[in-house]
Every structure is written in C-alpha cells, then in structure tokens.
Symmetry: C2
DNA sequence: ACCTGAACACCGTTCAAGT
DNA sequence: ACCTGAACACCGTTCAAGT
C-alpha cells in the first residue's frame, strides 16, 4: 500500500530552492556581494555546502538567480496598465527597476552584468520585451525598434546604476546623513579641481549637490523619449 | 663625495609603477579579470607579492589604476578639436571609449564600476568634463547641464558596455566566427520564446542579428542628442 | 626605499559517504 | 533524491626580514 505521504518520492526534503535564494538575498541585502559566501550560506541555512550546490548551483548561479527573482518580482509588481500611454508604461518599468535597486543595492552591478553579458537570459528578455512594446506603441518605425529600445534600456540601466552609487559592500539603506556626507565629500573634491582645466565640473558642483535622484532619472528618460519622438 | 648616481636616493629600483601597470594590463587583456591574480603578477614580473603592493597597492587599486591609465590614453588620443561642432566632439569621446573597450574587453565592467561608485575619481571627472563642455556648447541651458550630461554619459556607458558583450574572462579579440556564433545562439534562444508572450523579441530578432555595433551606437547617441536639442 | 616570500586567513568547489 | 562536511586547490594581504 502506498500512503499519500510517500507519493512525492522525496522523503525528507527540508530545504528548497526558494529558501536558498531567500537566504542569499538576505545576505546580499545586509552586506553586499562580499557577504555572500558559501560558508555564510551554510551557517544561515544550517546545512553543508553541497546543499547549496544541489538546489541552485555555483555562487555565480546563485547571484544570477537572486537577480532574476528580484527583477521578476519588481516587474510583476507593476503589471502592464492597459490603456496607459506608452510613455507612462516606460516610466513605470524604469521606476520599478530604480526602486528595486534602491532596496537591494547590490542589484545595480548585477543587473548591468546580466544584461551586458547575458542577452539571452530571462532578465534581459523581460526588460527588453516590456520596454520594446511601448517603443512600438510610441510610433517608432519598425526598422528602428531595436535601436530605439536598446538606447532606452542602456540609458535606464546606466542611470539606475549611477543612482545606486553607494552600493557595493556596504550594508542597509543609505541614510540621509550618509547621503549628505557623500555629496559634501563629492563637491569638495570637485571644487578642489583646477578651475582652468575643469570649468564644467565647477559649473555643475551645486546642481549635483541639490539634485533629486528620482527627478533626475525621470528627466533623463524624458530626454531620451523626446529623442525617440524624432524618429517618427 | 657624492656621485651623481646615488643622488636620487633610490639605489636599485628595478621595478616601476608603470611596469607593474603594464603587466596588469597584459594579464587583463589576455584573460580578463580572472587572470589578474597577485601570483600571476609576481611570476610575470619575477618579484615577490610585496613589490606589487609597494608600487600600486591592493588588487582593487591595481584594477582601478589600469582603468585610469587606459581611459586617460584613450581620451588623450582624441584631443579636443577646436572649431569642431559639439556633436562631433561628443561622438569622438564616445567612440574613444567604445574603441578602448573593444581593445580591452575587461574595461566594460570596470569603467562602469568606476563611474558608478567613484564619482570623485579621475575617470568620472575626465569623462564628465569632456562631455559636459559640449553640452554647454550645444545650447542646453545652464540649469540642465548636470541632467543633460548625466543622461549622455549614462547612455554612452550603458551602450559601450553592452557592445562589449563578449567580455568577461575570455581572452583576445572576438573573431568574426565568435560573433556569428554568438548571434546565431542568441537569435535561436529568442525565437524559442513563446510568441504570444514575447511578440517584441520575435519582431526584433533579425535586426539584432544584422545590426552593426558601431552604427547602432552612433544611432543611439543621435537619439539622445535629438532629445537634448529640445531643451534649448 | 625597495623588495622578498613564508605565513595567514580566507575563498569556491568537489565528491565520497551517508540516509 | 537529498544532504553532509572534510579535503583540495586556490585566493589576497601582511609583515618580519633582508639589502
């Protein structure tokens, strides 16, 4: 007789791929890429290293899978609004990525790496599809779809990473104090540059200090969208 | 008596910072970031590991210094053409970076990292200054200089990294065969996507295959420049 | 000042062995 | 199938010691 319990054939599965990924994301959120070590994973999960390799794979695959998980969630959280203007949909997707990176600062580097070196991967495909459709809806001629979408995606990624500038191996969210300190240090360095050879840096030093990240991000998108409008 | 020879106080200096950086760049060019190990450096230079730390610093500083060296050389090779149109100067700077990355594929990742997490560093400053001046010359109002320049730089970096997509830990230049193989694999993957959920990817699959990297890059810049023109 | 190189404290990954 | 954890082959970095 086979009872219901042993049907699934996997007796004591105590660890799932999802749990492994959750642990990885927690580690990354709390201490950046440097905090994601196989040993830290085994401690947090109370397992051997083989368990991690069994459920997900190498450290690199772990990083990629964590990235995919978060990007998928971020995009799913802002589903396509039927009837919305294409510009609005593009902004929604861009801001979804922007916010995801604000919450998971390690994502800035990883997202760029994924799109740059894995154009066949789910992250690239998902982002391109979401943005690309709107480029069509915007009236850009079909022959320019690829160029136009690439330009937008490149801009979004570049900007989104830039704004997560405090990323890397530091923990937690950047406090307002951190932010102010950072910009104070930055404007000091820029002001110390030779005024003759770096007139432009001197000219923008105050704008850099006062700008709002999100606002600047949207302003940049508006610039690119204006450029795309000319393709019609 | 002091002879001329011992005046510089440094007797037997057999290694220079420049030699250390040259070795690092050769290693990076031949095998990507993975090939740059301290041990490989000591073998190539026939020294102890301390010598590397003495002349440059940690592995990370080595990577940064190598990046600075190449970016500085790339920008210096295309000096500002007095009298040239600002659009042309922007294209020149962008292509200088594009070509530098084509020659040193590991630079794609590193350049992005530098600009993203080290806005006070020489690489960021140099690129911003070169591009920013032209934004002013383009007639963009002063209040938008920072935004406009950031947008351009973000686009350039994003695109330039994307086009170096075969980077990473592989060696040498990508051959035409590599390139074709790569795009065949890519279009196969894209075609395998569900046509209902990914109509856009299906629509662009041929454009992606046939596009010219450099041409697309310039087309993207033209789009952003068109957008900037609206700010006047 | 410039450099050596052993020693240290980590890594990621594999794999025989267990259940 | 799922998991353990010792063993392996690497890392980057430091630092006493040499010249």
């Amino acid at each position: 007789m086979t009872t219901r319990a042993d049907r699934p054939r996997r007796r004591n599965q105590v660890l799932s791929r999802e749990q492994v990924l959750d642990a990885a994301i927690e580690l990354l959120d709390s201490g950046g890429e440097g905090a994601l070590t196989v040993r830290a994973m085994t401690e947090r999960l109370a397992t051997g290293s083989g368990a991690v390799y069994h459920h997900v794979g190498t450290r690199n695959e772990l990083l990629d899978a964590a990235t995919e998980t978060i990007v998928a969630a971020a995009l799913a959280a802002k589903p396509h609004q039927t009837g919305a203007a294409p510009e609005q949909e593009i902004r929604a997707v861009a801001l979804a990525l922007f916010d995801a990176i604000a919450e998971h600062r390690w994502l800035a580097t990883r997202l760029t790496l994924q799109i740059v070196r894995n154009p066949a991967g789910p992250v690239t495909v998902e982002v391109f599809e979401r943005i690309g459709r709107q480029v069509g809806a915007l009236g850009v001629p079909r022959a320019s779809w690829f160029n136009a979408t690439s330009t937008l995606v490149h801009y979004i990624l570049g900007a989104v990473s830039q704004h997560a500038r405090l990323d890397g191996d530091t923990a937690g969210e950047p406090s307002d104090v951190d932010r102010e300190e950072f910009f104070n240090a930055l404007s000091t360095t820029w002001r110390e540059l030779d005024a003759e050879t770096y007139p432009f840096m001197h000219a923008i030093v105050d704008q850099a200090k006062e700008h709002d990240d999100r606002e600047q991000f949207l302003a940049g998108i508006a610039i690119v969208l204006d450029g795309l409008a000319r393709l019609r």
